[in-house]
């Protein structure tokens, strides 16, 4: 079984682009075309920004992005932080029919994530929040 490829960096917005470059590189290596890769990158972006914003509050901590290519059908991307239990998938779906006055300024991130990947799971394991994105090859 191939060893997972991963990148571990501090949960800091200054590292967001480094995470995204890594993700894009892995996707292109795996044969994804640019237009599909950018959608998966967007999904990861949303989840990474969530972790960066909420996982560690004022303390420092790391985020791990891991790629698993063990399945013949799906590519797995894991986003892992060691913050307090937090499942961003439990957020309420936004109401897309509201007009400018009524649309709240937040709430779209997870919704976009779901639209850009094939499956999305949250688990809590070993004091870590683990978000697994699954993308069809």
């Amino acid at each position: 079984m191939p060893t997972p490829v991963q990148l571990v960096l501090g949960a800091d917005l200054n590292n967001l682009q480094k995470f995204k470059d890594f993700i894009n590189e892995q996707l292109i290596k795996a044969g994804f075309d640019e237009s599909h890769a950018i959608k998966v990158e967007l999904a990861c972006d949303e989840l990474l920004v969530n972790s960066i914003s909420y996982a560690y509050q004022d303390k420092k901590g790391d985020i791990t992005v891991q790629f698993n290519d063990n399945d013949s059908e799906f590519f797995e991307i894991l986003i892992i932080d060691k913050g307090p239990p937090f499942n961003p998938l439990e957020a309420e779906a936004p109401d897309l029919d509201l007009d400018i006055d009524d649309r709240p300024v937040g709430g779209l991130g997870i919704f976009l994530v779901r639209e850009m990947v094939d499956d999305l799971k949250y688990t809590r394991h070993d004091q870590c929040n683990i978000l697994t994105l699954m993308v069809k090859k």
């Binding site: 917005l13 237009s35 967007l42 972006d45 920004v49 936004p94 400018i100 006055d101 976009l112 639209e115």
Partner: protein, 110 residues
């Protein structure tokens, strides 16, 4: 991300190039606020060179739209392409913004 600002008739045309995400969206908001503080109330946002937008970017667009609504101002977006166009569609933002193909169309529509 690069923002270029021009005046066309009584419109402030802001062309945004590159990517709008959590890191760069504040730059757009600041540029917009600066123009609004300077008295600008009619905007065309040219996204023909924008390759990517995340929810942070959408949020900035919404903040802009809400600010302009409160001053009876106008904003028209144009040039949306590829994933940016798709994100606007998926999020329903294509129905809360006036979106045109080109800057010329946007100037007419605004």
């Amino acid at each position: 991300m690069e923002i270029t600002v021009n005046q066309k008739d009584d419109f402030t045309v802001m062309a945004v190039a590159g990517r709008m995400d959590a890191v760069t969206a504040p730059q757009f908001e600041a540029a917009f606020k600066e123009r609004m503080t300077g008295g600008a109330n009619k905007f065309v946002i040219d996204l023909s060179q924008l390759d990517y937008i995340s929810s942070a970017g959408l949020r900035s667009m919404l903040v802009m739209a809400k600010s302009l609504k409160s001053t009876a101002g106008v904003s028209v977006l144009c040039g949306l392409k590829d994933v940016v166009q798709e994100v606007f569609k998926i999020s329903g933002f294509n129905s809360i913004f006036t979106i045109c193909a080109t800057v010329e169309d946007a100037l007419q529509a605004g």
